[in-house]
């Protein structure tokens, strides 16, 4: 691209989204070009084997390039942070952050999920409408979780969350997704970037409870420095068709990455989840536990990758994907993958698929427990260890949503 067209394109973006620093226009133009010039993902590529990429397209995406109506900010998300007096903590909407914290954003925004990450991520980077920055400075311990309650608008939406955590800091973030009551078939494209510096301890909990007719595409990446511990939890409940690409990249030595969660799908819900634990540094550990519960004619595919680089010796990595098949018409796919380029490792994965074990039911029946109760007990036993990975505060909410949906209440309401 020559300078004249680049400048011209920048001006177009500037006209539509005014008052942003110059660097972001350049980045948006590049991402837009990537989006428009790259073809739809090839179905032969394994991450798209079970999802039709055209499900996640927007109608007339160029219309999305505009500042999101400022008035609706207050309804879009609410952030709750209790009992913390540190003035250096920054929590603000992304447009303000771009204008006021330009240096910080220039350093982090798009560094984990950039404009060339993939076609849909490029669209997000070019045209994100609203988002949130959470910045936790060095040496800051926040005991109570920071909770974000999103209510995504009834129209298609592109959003971003950027979390930057300094050295020796500790924080828990609960990211709760719900839809506007009038939301019917909207498409949500969200990107979540987390950067955790050395010696930090970070928990990120994502609760997806969108309206049952919506479509969503979520990309999440965390980059972890040395001697840190990062846990992520994903609870997937809502949406008609949802695709997630979530993962942690361990950049510093001696760190630990944990990921756990579940998806509970009923009717004809479709989920396509891809997880990554990428070990780029020595002496790092990761553990992944993902549970899938399928009812009715629900459909799930799980693809999980552990990759250990050649210059990352002494790593341990484990991965488990268990699928509980409760409906007669369910489809369940599981592809746990390992790419190990180093011998100094200990690595394993396991996957199981099956219904509630009839032998267990039989045993409980013989103890006088009726089948319905027995089934519920076995499902509780299946999911409870996963709940125990969640900090106390959102745990009750997630448990309520889970059992509400299991018993057939829509969105647990």
């Amino acid at each position: 691209m020559n300078t004249i067209t680049l400048d011209k394109k920048k001006i177009e973006f500037r006209d539509k989204i005014p008052n942003e620093p110059e660097w972001i226009y350049g980045a948006r133009v590049k991402a837009w070009d990537y989006y428009t010039s790259s073809p739809l993902p090839d179905r032969a590529q394994h991450l798209w084997r079970y999802s039709d990429p055209s499900n996640f397209l927007f109608e007339k995406p160029e219309r999305l390039i505009k500042p999101f109506p400022q008035k609706s900010h207050s309804n879009l998300f609410r952030v709750k942070l209790e009992g913390e007096q540190n003035n250096n903590i920054i929590i603000k909407d992304l447009h303000s952050a771009v204008a006021e914290n330009s240096d910080l954003l220039n350093r982090y925004l798009g560094k984990a999920i950039g404009g060339d990450f993939g076609k849909f991520e490029a669209l997000n980077f070019a045209a994100w409408q609203e988002g949130l920055l959470i910045y936790i400075p060095d040496n800051t311990i926040i005991e109570r979780p920071i909770s974000i309650q999103w209510e995504f608008p009834k129209n298609d939406f592109l959003g971003r969350l950027l979390v930057v955590i300094g050295n020796n800091s500790k924080v828990t973030i609960v990211d709760n997704y719900s839809s506007h009551p009038n939301n019917k078939t909207a498409m949500l494209n969200n990107a979540v970037e987390l950067f955790a510096d050395d010696n930090s301890e970070v928990k990120y909990i994502n609760i997806q409870n969108l309206s049952m007719d919506s479509r969503s595409y979520l990309t999440q990446r965390a980059q972890v420095g040395a001697k840190s511990k990062l846990s992520t939890f994903f609870a997937l409940l809502g949406g008609k068709t949802s695709k997630l690409d979530i993962g942690t990249i361990i950049e510093g030595e001696g760190s630990e990455a944990l990921m756990s969660g579940f998806l509970l799908a009923d009717n004809k819900q479709q989920f396509d989840v891809h997880t990554v634990h990428h070990h780029k540094a020595a002496d790092s550990n990761s553990n992944l536990d993902y549970k899938v519960i399928l009812k009715d004619k629900a459909c799930s595919s799980y693809t999980g990758l552990i990759r250990i680089e050649q210059d990352a010796p002494d790593c341990e990595a484990y991965q488990e994907n268990r699928n509980l098949l409760l409906g007669n018409g369910v489809n369940s796919r599981s592809i746990p993958e390992l790419e190990i380029l180093n011998q100094e490792v200990s690595c394993s994965h396991g996957a199981t698929m099956g219904p509630v074990d009839p032998e267990m039911i039989y045993y409980l029946n013989s103890r006088g427990i009726p089948t319905t109760d027995a089934e519920r007990m076995i499902i509780e036993g299946f999911i409870e260890p996963t709940f125990n990975e969640i900090p106390e505060e959102p745990k009750e909410l997630i448990r309520r949503l889970f059992f509400g949906k299991l018993e057939g209440e829509e969105n647990g309401r």
Binding site: Q310, N331, R333, E339, L341, V345, T352, M353
Partner: protein, 478 residues
């Protein structure tokens, strides 16, 4: 009806070769091949079929397959860098036995000769394995075997003779399990196949000794594009062994076999193979089997040689109560990529399968497990267990696991487990404290690691395989 003219105008290739001589101007096909023609086109396919004096249906089958091969793109998965490096125009697709014997012992690389020495391969066999002699002198052994089989009504021939002598059986089953359109390399094989084994075991017959490709005294059984078809009729049992542990030297850079195995009701088939192609060979093979009601199929599959292997033995369990087992090892040394795996497809109730895969990567070798477990809705009460173990010997080695499980029924049980590790420190420590050198200890551990595989092989193969692993390990731990 193999000899009748089977004109099928729908295919658009029906008249190919009808006025062959005039059209292409070849009067002496043998002369044409004597000059050696590289590359692939309909002329080459026509020539192969004519030289073999095949029935029309097979000739048309080949032409159709070639069209499929030419129209299919290269696979977009696996080691695409290596795959895309194949130059199809630089390959001989059919070499007459006479030329095959034209290679000279002096041309065989020293490394291969040395391996023969160390494995203790007899002189005559060496020349056969190195491709400088078409004959392996086992006529005496073979003779008594042949008599025995004949009495039982077992057919054991090379595929070309099978087509000539038993056209009705071949036509019924050939290409039914792996149709040419299955994949690009199956299409290529279907177009230019030559050699391979043809086995038919009649109803209720139990073949006591393993049938070995070795016993077939035929120049073409070492072909690049072998085609094997095994049919075990109701209630019969057979064990087939292909390949051998000694390295097979060939100047041909592409080996692309198709193996179709059919176990009818209650039959049992075991197919054992250890491939050890020299390290310049692409080994792109399609192996698939079908197990009918209460039938059992077992693949014992070893991959030691070649530059790139892509091989995923497959079992379709189509009859109620069918059972399948795949046991495989892969050894990826320097410069090698073993992309091996296993596939089981359950499409009938009460079927069960088990996959055990072991891989060893050393030097900068890369071993990948790529598998598929598919359960269709009607395959109720099915059970699958998959276990993958990988051992890494060097810092530069790589191991990948790409299993795929697709389950469309809910009352089934699927379990998958995989582990990757290096040679355990404690085991090394224990063995070295008992006076073994570190190299010896490592070798012992590696041999122990693949023991579940070797113990399934006939004794002489198991011994050779252990010696081979020893050789392969020497360069790394020495």
């Amino acid at each position: 009806m193999a000899n009748s003219r089977n004109k099928n105008n729908d295919t658009g290739i029906a008249d190919i070769g009808d006025n062959y001589a005039e059209k292409y101007g070849f009067h002496d096909p043998e002369e044409y091949f004597h000059k050696g023609a590289k590359g692939i086109n309909h002329k080459v396919v026509e020539m192969i079929s004519r030289m073999k004096k095949e029935p029309d249906w097979m000739r048309e089958f080949r032409h159709k397959a070639l069209d499929i091969f030419l129209s299919k793109p290269m696979p977009k998965w696996g080691n695409t860098d290596l795959l895309n490096a194949i130059d199809f125009s630089d390959i001989y697709y059919y070499i007459k036995p006479i030329e095959f014997q034209g290679n000279k012992w002096e041309d065989v690389p020293d490394s291969i000769k040395k391996t023969f020495d160390k494995l203790g391969i007899p002189e005559a066999e060496r020349k056969f394995l190195a491709g400088v002699s078409a004959q392996y002198e086992s006529e005496v052994v073979y003779h008594s075997v042949k008599e025995e089989l004949k009495k039982q009504g077992v057919i054991f021939l090379d595929m070309d003779s099978g087509l000539r002598e038993h056209p009705e059986i071949v036509k019924k089953y050939f290409g039914t399990i792996i149709p040419p359109a299955d994949n690009k390399f199956a299409a290529l094989n279907s177009a230019v196949w030559s050699g391979g084994s043809f086995i038919y075991v009649p109803e209720g017959v139990e073949v006591k000794i393993p049938l070995q490709a070795y016993f077939r005294i035929n120049a073409e059984n070492m072909g690049q594009f072998e085609r094997t078809l095994i049919i075990a009729d109701k209630g019969s049992r057979v064990h087939y062994i292909e390949g051998c542990t000694a390295p097979i030297y060939t100047t041909n850079s592409l080996h692309s076999a198709v193996v179709e195995v059919i176990a009818l009701e209650g039959a049992y088939i075991r197919y054992s193979t250890v491939q050890n192609w020299s390290h310049n060979v692409y080994n792109l093979v399609t192996k698939r089997s079908v197990a009918h009601k209460n039938a059992t199929i077992e693949w014992i599959d070893g991959n030691i040689g070649s530059k790139l292997s892509m091989k995923y033995p497959c079992i379709y369990l189509v009859g109620e109560g069918a059972r399948g087992e795949i046991l495989s090892i892969a050894f990826a040394g320097d410069g090698q990529h073993q992309d091996a795996g296993a596939k089981v497809i359950h499409s009938a109730p009460n079927t069960s399968s088990k996959i055990t895969s072991k891989s060893i990567s050393k030097g900068n070798g890369r071993a990948s497990y790529r598998g598929l477990v598919k359960i269709y809705p009607q395959a109720v009460n099915s059970k699958v267990s998959v276990e993958c173990d990988a051992l890494l010997i060097d810092d530069a080695s790589r191991s990948d696991t790409y299993p795929t499980m697709e389950v469309d029924a809910n009352n089934v049980k699927v379990e998958h487990e995989a582990r990757v590790s290096k040679v355990a420190e404690e085991q090394l420590f224990y063995l070295t404290s008992r006076g073994l050198s570190e190299d010896e200890a490592k070798l012992l551990i590696v041999n122990g690691f693949i023991e579940p595989f070797t113990k399934e092989l006939p004794m002489e193969y198991a011994v050779e395989l252990n010696r081979l692993i020893e050789l392969e390990m020497e360069t790394s731990v020495g």
